[in-house]
């Protein structure tokens, strides 16, 4: 009976591996490489000596603890302790996301698209696909853990011994397997892959928040969250293994429950009935503009929360910033030195610039969605009705431009609020900071202009705008460290922004950049009205 349920599992596992033989190694290597290269940068970022102690002090404020987790071994803050403290939680979350996406891809999404139906018509057990997915993901997570353990262990940095590195990898493997099992469960419960993905990501978010609240006040609350629990391993400090076993047992229970549901339910059915949606469209949904909002609102709201948190997390480090910077050679290199200003004021100028690049991402995503819609043959529904091309492109562009402004405001708001809360006394003035942040809006619009022009003339090459943004980020952020020539920064809109709020805003800069944005947008509209639409 059992064997019947799992018939041909290994063949299906082979199929999954065949489909993902690029995707899985890319995931593993990118997560591992980021961690290892960050670990390698720590010795120069945090040289031994009194400044380590200062950093440990700055990390003790509640904003920081809720952001990156409780610090262990702050008394003897060696590189290993720094690594586990600053990187483990976020790496674990990246591993969780990898598992959520891969699991959905091979379970509910395949079922939704009818591929499982084809598979199930062959001599294949009812649980074979789910089991094959678990098998491949277990191997993936174990490989990831091994690559990480060996990579960190080989570095042999101060405080990073083999026992700790092995546990570091094991934590990631465990979190991965837990979220694979959890996603499998949600895939049984819901009828659509979107819903399954939504529920699992919501779970991840709640787990993060629960840990954030718990880490400030209640140890019990933290331990209720799998993310909080797993940090209790105190990697590189105490190296406890018990949280690993607890989470693995939980994952096993959840996985068995998922398999049981999978064995008894109908194909393409869910346990939670999909609730009926609207019978009629709302008043808002009557124009391309309304459609763009309806399609993008969830992602706009999530980005708004994310950008605010990003701003807040930058804001949380301000309390002890001046003492920190005075001791950090690296940061003194990143920040161009200007007399008469405190380091924290200079730091704000740089943060505003970096945050505006982050805030440009959701705006670009919305605009480029028009290209994706065309590829999916959905623009023809609109253009075959009384919708002009300019109207269609304009709707996406207007929302993208507004989103750019909103995101930039939110990032400044997040930065200012938390900074004001953590620095008692006089933080930098709000309106001045907000106004300084707004100077970046024309630069974000230039980027949108580039994307519009690409949509108009090279619809297959719209991805180029991401390269441009990445280039901007590197030249602005790292330009001073790498001693890049100034003209490289001048190739990006950001290279022309005065160092607000330190330097005054020149109206000529604003006018020229707005003009440039308008020209690029105009070009885009011209091209979009001239060319063939693919679908």
């Amino acid at each position: 009976m059992i064997r019947k349920l799992f018939h041909n599992t290994t063949v299906l596992a082979g199929l999954i591996w065949r489909r993902d033989r690029m995707r899985i190694p890319v995931w593993i290597l990118s997560i591992a490489l980021v961690s290892i290269s960050v670990a390698m940068s720590f010795p120069s970022l945090y040289p031994e000596g009194p400044e380590r102690f200062i950093i440990a002090e700055t990390l003790k404020n509640p904003a920081m603890i809720s952001m990156i987790g409780p610090g262990y071994g702050l008394g003897n803050y060696h590189i290993g302790a720094i690594m586990a403290h600053q990187m483990l939680l976020f790496t674990a979350m990246a591993v969780a996301m990898m598992n959520i996406m891969l699991t959905i891809r091979h379970t509910r999404r395949d079922e939704e698209s009818g591929r499982i139906e084809v598979i199930r018509s062959l001599p294949v057990g009812r649980l074979s696909n789910a089991a094959a997915t678990i098998l491949v993901l277990a191997i993936t997570n174990i490989s990831l853990g091994l690559v990480m353990s060996v990579g960190l262990g080989v570095l042999g940095l101060e405080g990073m011994d083999w026992a700790g590195s092995l546990l570091y990898g094991a934590v990631l493997t465990t979190v991965g397997i837990f979220f694979a099992a959890l996603t499998l469960l949600f895939s049984q419960l819901t009828e659509t892959s979107r819903a399954a993905q939504g529920y699992t990501f919501a779970f991840l978010g709640v787990a993060y928040l629960l840990r954030a609240i718990g880490d400030i006040g209640s140890e019990t609350l933290s331990r209720l969250s799998p993310l909080g629990l797993i940090l209790r391993t105190q990697v590189y400090v105490q190296n406890y293994w018990w949280p690993i076993w607890v989470v693995l047992v939980l994952a096993g229970i959840i996985g068995c429950a998922a398999l049981r549901l999978n064995a008894t339910r109908d194909l393409q059915a869910g346990i939670i009935a999909a609730r009926p949606g609207r019978r009629y469209a709302s008043r808002l949904l009557r124009s391309p503009l309304g459609l763009v909002w309806r399609l993008e609102r969830t992602s706009i709201l999530s980005w708004a929360v994310g950008i605010f948190i990003l701003g807040a997390s930058y804001g949380s480090v301000f309390r002890d910033i001046d003492s920190f910077f005075q001791t950090s050679d690296l940061y003194q290199k990143i920040l161009p030195m200007i007399e008469d200003f405190s380091l924290s004021e200079q730091f704000v100028a740089m943060l505003l610039s970096i945050m505006s690049m982050m805030a440009a991402i959701p705006a670009l995503l919305i605009l480029l969605k028009l290209g994706a819609e065309e590829k999916a043959n959905r623009t023809e529904h609109l253009l075959a009705r009384a919708v002009s091309r300019s109207g269609l492109l304009g709707s996406f562009l207007v929302i993208a431009m507004v989103v750019a402004v909103i995101m930039q405001v939110l990032s400044v708001l997040g930065l200012w609020t938390v900074a004001a809360l953590s620095i008692h006394g006089n933080p930098f003035p709000f309106f001045e900071t907000l106004w300084a942040g707004m100077i970046y809006v024309p630069m974000m619009w230039i980027l949108l202009g580039v994307a519009t022009a690409l949509l108009g003339f090279f619809p297959k090459r719209t991805g180029m705008v991401w390269l441009y943004l990445t280039y901007s980020f590197f030249t602005i952020y790292l330009g001073n460290i790498l001693q890049l020539p100034e003209w490289m920064a001048k190739l990006t809109p950001w290279g022309h922004v005065p160092n607000v709020p330190l330097e005054p805003i020149k109206s000529s800069t604003v006018v020229v950049s707005l003009l440039l944005a308008i020209i690029l947008i105009g070009l885009g509209f011209y091209g979009y009205n001239k060319r063939d639409i693919r679908g």
């Binding site: 609207r278 469209a281 309806r294 009705r385 679908g535």
Partner: protein, 294 residues
């Protein structure tokens, strides 16, 4: 008055010629069939009419307006159903129908409800959970709920069940009765045969035949099966007769439509006992054109 006028339209994608100078005219109140195999250029033609693709040369007009320049003006008076309906998976069918109807500017609520009922569609489900047939129903309801003057339907029934196909045919018939024009692209020949007044056959970007079904039939072979008292002599030698099969007490053969009378006259001298003649189906026409010239 010609509702649709395509005059010597060509379309090139790089070096590939998708359409090599086609002509087509649809009169008011006419249901026009547009048939051809996959990749022949049907969808390209329709997209040029919709102003989504720009013709490399030639004139494409709807209601006397230029399909490219006056697209928005034209689209206020037409309804379109694409062959492959992709919808936004997180919107419900009801929302999409409302959006489509509003984008045209008209709003007939009672008509919408009636059509949803007739096509047996659940408008509260998300489009992501619809089958191909149900997505097609969404597009059909949105199209027929619109009070259009021209309906452009690109293989609209490929995912529908026979009952829904019947409903679809009723909708087309109602539109025709109301004096509307329809361009129906299809490769389901029985559908075209039942619905269309005139037909164009397209192959490799060229229209190779057009006219009423009657005219087209005239161009091809009629199948005849005849039983006679006396054996027919020299049947193959009668001009216009092909594919002769002789059996005991009779024969079956094909004959060119224009020579049917003459051939029958000759056969009648052998004492006809029974005679069956079947007009060529559209399928015969189609295969005749495709195999004959391939």
């Amino acid at each position: 008055m010609a509702i649709v006028k395509i005059d010597n339209v060509t379309k090139k994608f790089g070096n590939f010629t998708a359409l090599g100078g086609i002509h087509l005219e649809i009169q008011q109140g006419e249901v026009y069939g547009f048939i051809g195999p996959n990749g022949a250029g049907k969808t390209t033609t329709i997209r040029i009419l919709l102003g989504i693709l720009k013709a490399t040369s030639g004139v494409a007009q709807i209601f006397g307006l230029n399909a490219w320049d006056d697209a928005v003006e034209i689209h206020k008076r037409i309804a379109y159903v694409p062959g492959e309906v992709n919808l936004w998976s997180n919107l419900t069918g009801g929302e999409v129908i409302d959006l489509f109807v509003r984008l045209r500017g008209s709003n007939h609520k009672s008509r919408r409800e009636e059509l949803i009922e007739r096509f047996d569609l659940d408008p509260t489900k998300k489009c992501g959970t619809y089958s191909k047939g149900n997505r097609q129903k969404v597009a059909l309801v949105a199209a027929f709920a619109a009070d259009a003057d021209l309906y452009i339907l690109d293989e609209p029934t490929s995912g529908l069940d026979p009952l829904m196909e019947l409903t679809f045919r009723e909708c087309v018939a109602e539109a025709k009765e109301a004096g509307k024009s329809v361009l129906l692209s299809s490769h389901i020949l029985s559908e075209v045969e039942r619905l269309c007044d005139r037909v164009s056959i397209i192959r490799q970007g060229q229209i190779i035949e057009s006219g009423s079904l009657k005219e087209l039939r005239h161009l091809t072979m009629t199948r005849v099966r005849v039983e006679t008292a006396m054996p027919i002599l020299h049947l193959e030698e009668i001009p216009g007769v092909q594919n002769v099969e002789v059996f005991a007490g009779g024969a079956s053969f094909q004959v060119e439509g224009s020579r049917l009378g003459e051939v029958l006259k000759q056969i009648s001298q052998y004492d006809i006992l029974a005679l069956e003649s079947a007009p060529p189906t559209l399928e015969d026409l189609f295969i005749h054109h495709y195999q004959g010239e391939a």
